[in-house]
């Protein structure tokens, strides 16, 4: 009989160590919290998306945004069904893993990570242009602008490695301020600038070539970046099966309304050529600039009121609006974009951790710092990739639109796989509870498949193919990213002896009591 002191595990023994203690997760988010976080992400992209799209699609910008908006609705609906059905962090990666296998889940997740990296680059790249209101070289000098953008990402990398607490109240305040300011801009533009004949004329006279129109639609998807946010936050949401779809729909409506209003405002404020040349990187500042010339306080006050007292007050108010609006836009845009860049870094680190947990990437990439308790390797690694994508800004004048193309590459691939996964789940796992089940279905082999997912799959796939064919920069950088990722996945799984497609062993989840 062997002494217990000399006991050693035999080769092949497997131990699963379970925590003795019962473990709970605290879910705290409701619809308002989800909405403010998601809008903060999605709503920030209009600060650069409008400019990128007009560079490519010129007069067809409102049309491109509208078509991209339709795809956005389809994608939001697929996400609503998927998130309610699978309320875990991972978004399209999670849908694809459940709908197909780990390999497809990895491809979706890796494409999504590319989208996050590009979002970090482009959000930070736009900030100096808005801050150019205070110091012009930030806007007009590629050297200063690019250096500032890189510095912003590097600072955020450090902040996120330390893990400084983010204030949810501050986020909510910024979202309300952001929405309020955007709505104010739209209303002022409609009041002082909008002229239906001029608006239509600018669309018609600056209509692009067909290839540019198609690419414009692809690029316009960047206006709706951030849809993954709600899905990624499902794990923190109370009753996510109900609240996540509601938040998604609310966010979709708000984003479409405000994006539509801002694109009409922009075309009322200036010609597409002016926007593409002078205001490409800070289009919302361009609207504010045009408004500050259109608002003539004394004249307007005299037109509206005959009472001298009322005229004085109204003239004062309009004068304040005219003076403060460009300043407010500059500060607000820079702040919102800074928060969005930070959100991108947090999103990518969470996603990297999730992929590491399911053994899709080496666990070393998702290692947690012993003191700061943050996934510092993922933050530094992917943050530096984002910085690297900005480097060509020193010498490449059209980097801005290339970044838009890169985003379209990653996001369209990820969204297409999300739609495909929703369809696959309907076919392969029809028995899964679907608290939010999409209507308008067609029958396919005794299964019901949502038409919106089919249309979304078609639209996002076509756009992705267009980007790959038409944009060499996006094609080669995007394909290189995917090749590196798939190579790492293949090598990692081969060395671990895990099948490429089958689910690897995961940490036991049954210890979790999730409230």
């Amino acid at each position: 009989m062997s002494s217990s002191n000399n006991w050693q595990p035999k080769l092949g023994d497997k131990f699963v160590r379970r925590p003795r203690i019962r473990l709970h997760l605290r879910r705290v988010l409701g619809v308002p919290g989800l909405f403010s976080t998601a809008y903060g992400d999605i709503g920030s992209s209009i600060y650069y998306a409008l400019g990128i799209v007009v560079v490519v699609a010129s007069g067809a910008t409102p049309v491109s945004l509208a078509i991209a908006g339709i795809f956005f609705v389809f994608t939001a609906l697929s996400y609503a069904e998927g998130t309610a059905m699978l309320p875990e962090a991972g978004g399209s990666a999670s849908f694809a893993r459940h709908g197909f296998n780990d390999m497809v889940g990895f491809i979706a997740g890796w494409a999504l990570m590319f989208g996050y990296v590009v979002t970090i680059s482009i959000s930070a790249f736009t900030i100096p242009s808005y801050l150019g209101y205070f110091w012009e070289p930030l806007k007009i000098s590629p050297t200063f602008g690019t250096a500032a953008a890189m510095a912003i990402v590097l600072i955020l990398i450090v902040i996120n490695v330390f893990g400084i607490k983010e204030s949810s109240l501050l986020n909510l305040f910024l979202t309300i301020l952001d929405m309020g300011t955007q709505i104010l801009l739209v209303l002022l533009a409609l009041l002082f600038l909008f002229n239906p004949a001029v608006f239509v004329e600018r669309i018609v006279n600056y209509w692009p070539s067909t290839p540019n129109l198609i690419f414009g639609v692809a690029i316009a998807a960047i206006a709706f970046t951030g849809i993954e946010t709600i899905s990624q936050m499902a794990e923190e949401t109370r009753r996510p099966q109900v609240r996540s779809p509601r938040a998604l729909i609310l966010t979709t409506v708000a984003v479409l309304a405000i994006s539509g209003g801002l694109s009409v405002s922009a075309f009322s404020a200036m010609t597409p050529a002016e926007m593409a040349s002078e205001w490409a990187k800070d289009p919302i500042a361009g609207i504010a600039h045009a408004l500050s010339f259109a608002i003539v306080p004394g004249q307007l006050a005299a037109e509206w009121f005959s009472e001298p007292g009322a005229q004085i007050v109204v003239a004062w108010v309009l004068g304040m609006v005219r003076a403060l609006l460009p300043l407010l836009i500059a500060l607000l845009a820079a702040t919102i974009l800074f928060v969005a860049t930070n959100a991108g870094l947090m999103g990518i680190s969470r996603l990297a951790f999730s992929l590491g947990r399911f053994q899709m990437i080496p666990p070393a990439m998702s290692r947690v710092h012993s003191k700061f308790k943050t996934p510092f390797i993922a933050i530094i690694l992917f943050g530096l990739v984002a910085v690297l994508l900005q480097v060509p800004g020193f010498f490449m004048p059209n980097l801005f639109e290339h970044l838009g193309g890169l985003y379209a590459f990653g996001s369209m691939l990820s969204f297409a796989l999300a739609h495909l996964a929703i369809i696959a789940l309907r076919v392969r796992k029809p028995e899964l509870p679907r608290p939010f089940r999409l209507g308008w279905n067609i029958k396919f082999k005794e299964r019901e498949v949502p038409v919106t997912a089919l249309l979304g799959l078609l639209g996002t796939s076509v756009v992705w193919v267009v980007v790959v064919i038409m944009q060499p920069y996006s094609r080669w950088v995007g394909l290189a990213w995917m090749a590196v990722g798939i190579g790492v996945y293949y090598l990692f799984r081969w060395r671990k002896g895990i099948s490429l497609r089958q689910a690897a062993d995961k940490p036991e989840m049954s210890v979790w009591d999730i409230r």
């Binding site: 925590p19 003795r20 203690i21 019962r22 473990l23 962090a89 794990e235 923190e236 680190s349 943050t374």
Partner: protein, 141 residues
């Protein structure tokens, strides 16, 4: 004050022993039940359900020790581990969920830049808790 359910929040600080002893003493007098909770705070750069081995190990050590202290006081306790974004709201939420009449928290004697500090958690719990809160501060020396 005769609480029926007492929530004792431990954090691995020097004040934990005193907090558990106080909670047990109050429970004995009032014939109340005691729940001990430890909150792992998860940074936003990680998923909420991230399993961080070092944190889990520390949590188990802290809760094991707390259970031992309670056992020395002949007090039966139930220990729970909670993972959340913020410690304060997690404690308050746990108290609400369990219908606790009393929350007992510990406080190390710390000075930050020469000023005595209550930290983040205690002011939040004092303000938001649905029940009485007792703070047990360790001695100065």
């Amino acid at each position: 004050m005769r609480p029926k359910k007492i929530l004792v929040a431990v954090s691995g600080s020097r004040a934990d022993d005193e907090v558990v002893k106080l909670g047990c003493d109050l429970a004995r007098k009032a014939k109340a039940t005691v729940h001990i909770v430890y909150v792992i705070e998860v940074k936003r750069s990680l998923p909420l359900d991230a399993v961080i081995d070092s944190e889990m190990k520390r949590a188990e050590e802290v809760l094991n020790h707390a259970e031992q202290v309670a056992s020395d006081r002949d007090c039966d306790v139930e220990a729970d581990l909670v993972q959340a974004r913020d410690v304060g709201p997690a404690i308050v939420d746990e108290a609400r969920e369990r219908g606790a009449d009393l929350i007992v928290l510990g406080l190390d004697y710390k000075r930050r830049f020469g000023l005595f500090s209550l930290g983040r958690v205690i002011p939040y719990v004092i303000e938001e808790a649905p029940c009485r809160v007792v703070i047990c501060r360790e001695p100065m020396a």
